[in-house]
Symmetry: C2
Subunit: 328 residues, 2 copies
């Protein structure tokens, strides 16, 4: 078996596609090499389990996969897997070898996040408009491979980091008034959310705008969505949307809007410094914003905009910033 390496040494930023991608380094796994036999066996176990899932039209979480395959091999004291770390790694090996998403092998990732806006979603026999689900919105499942979008009236995707801000936009009818499809990722965007956004961008040509807190960790939420993450560099094709744009909160916003702030802590400072040499943050925009944040030594949250009233974000901040991007 020939398996592309997924380690940092085989990950690089591809200028052409604008994504983190894998290089050409491979590992080989031999059945007859004692050092490889265990992993060889594990790879076949996971692969055949996935095949069964696809044949039965069932999905399983990677934790279920682990428990389903863990057993003591008859006549030995050897366990197939000692720890979920082992089976997770094998699932990723198979993903990268076949150049498929694990979701396409019916392995689901953990889920979080919801969606609100004028889009018709079809899943199996169900069809519904995600702007007609009250203030709740549609909970995005871990796997969105089988979902179809028969009608998309929203004009762009607005990814929002916090549920509180997404709910503010929903209450102010920002989706209806501005043709936005609001996607709340509730922290680092899970795979289902990243894949949904990428599919809507590729299949329906929706521009993607990202709106987060103004701190180094939120910048990384944007970067993973846009350019991919090291851990999932081998599937950036499926998960990344390199044309995604960042709306804020930026260090400039903190100054321009005189936002309430908190001081950077040590972790914040070193995260910002690391970002200065991260290829995903090169270019004048990010260099300026990161250096400015280090200089003013302050960060701010999306909710800080409430200083000027609850509707400031929908009546002033987003129109200003999206206007500059040509979206409003």
């Amino acid at each position: 078996m020939k398996i592309p390496q997924r380690g940092l040494g085989n990950v690089s930023f591809d200028e052409k596609s604008g994504m983190l991608v894998l290089g050409n380094k491979y590992s080989k796994r031999y059945y007859m090499n004692v050092a490889h036999t265990r992993k060889f066996m594990q790879t076949l176990l996971v692969a055949s389990y996935c095949r069964r899932l696809v044949e039965e039209g069932r999905h399983a979480g990677i934790r279920e996969l682990y428990y389903a395959l863990k057993h003591t091999i008859t006549g030995t004291r050897e366990n197939t897997f000692e720890d979920q770390v082992e089976s997770n790694a094998i699932a990723e090996d198979i993903e990268v070898s076949l150049d498929l998403l694990r979701e396409q092998l019916n392995l689901t990732a953990d889920r979080r996040g919801y969606l609100y806006g004028d889009i018709l979603i079809r899943d199996g026999e169900d069809e519904f408009n995600a702007s007609r689900l009250g203030r709740g919105g549609w909970a995005v499942p871990g796997t969105v491979e089988d979902i179809a979008f028969p009608e998309v009236s929203a004009e762009y995707i607005l990814v929002v980091e916090t549920a509180a801000m997404a709910d503010r936009l929903i209450e102010e009818k920002f989706a209806q008034k501005n043709g936005a499809l609001i996607v709340a990722c509730q922290g680092q965007a899970p795979r289902g959310v990243r894949r949904l956004i990428q599919r809507l961008h590729v299949e329906n040509k929706l521009p993607v705008i990202v709106f987060t807190d103004g701190d180094p960790w939120s910048f990384r939420i944007f970067a993973s969505l846009a350019y991919g993450a090291i851990k999932t560099a081998y599937i950036s094709d499926y998960l990344a949307t390199p044309t995604a744009e960042y709306v804020g909160i930026t260090a400039s916003d903190i100054l321009n809007y005189e936002l309430p702030t908190d001081k950077l802590n040590e972790q914040d400072v070193s995260a910002l410094k690391a970002e200065l040499s991260d290829p995903r943050f090169k270019g004048q925009f990010w260099t300026n914003e990161i250096e400015l944040m280090l200089e003013i030594n302050k960060k701010a949250e999306q909710q800080a905009l409430a200083k000027y009233g609850l509707d400031f974000v929908t009546d002033k901040y987003l129109p200003d910033k999206l206007g500059e991007m040509g979206l409003m």
Copy 2:
């Protein structure tokens, strides 16, 4: 102003209602007492902000409330609030003084969790059936006060700790086949989810069944849902459902079904020991299960049931256990 105390010294377990409740201790807050003036001012600020929210029919998060009210008082160097901890505490003071949920004052809590099953939900002009939203389900909002349930065909609520298990039940059509309304709480149940469950129990007489991992922290997820939590003892009336029943995973399940386990760590052991003297866990069932878990020194996850195949939980485990409860 007379404000009921919310500290541990004023919280007790009420045998009659089966919930954690507040006692009769009050604090008084005087405008003319210099030690009280600051809190007095803060209380009026938050109260009048809530009044405006209700009048305008708007909702705000407690973080938005903080940023909206934080400012330097004209002619002084004094800030209205230094930290969100201050404004959060005042919001709770007002909640307890008025014997109202903060959600009824249009302050929303953070949200998480989703719902799937045969129930018609009405929110404003929207009306939809939560079993027709594909595999995603309905994302439960932070505030469920204004939501109506015009038609409830589900026969009981099955609260599920992990999204992975909730999704397993959704995929196996457990909701359709067994009249269950599946509520994924994704960890400790947020206020919106607890209130939704309590309302459906009180208004529609749905029994509530809780299905979590088998460890001390999951036991607490059940206890908070059923009997309330210390932090929110003053609103147990609104959030707790004392007739809720626990289906598993129990220590007995670990033995009876020979489930894959992990060893208890130090924190697990002291949490279990603390539960032995927690009034919410008194009674033979919990005493036995907690002591058994300490004895076998093992915990297990919901997903561990996948050892016997993905449909073991829907074809064997839940029918067995719910059968004992008279629900299947």
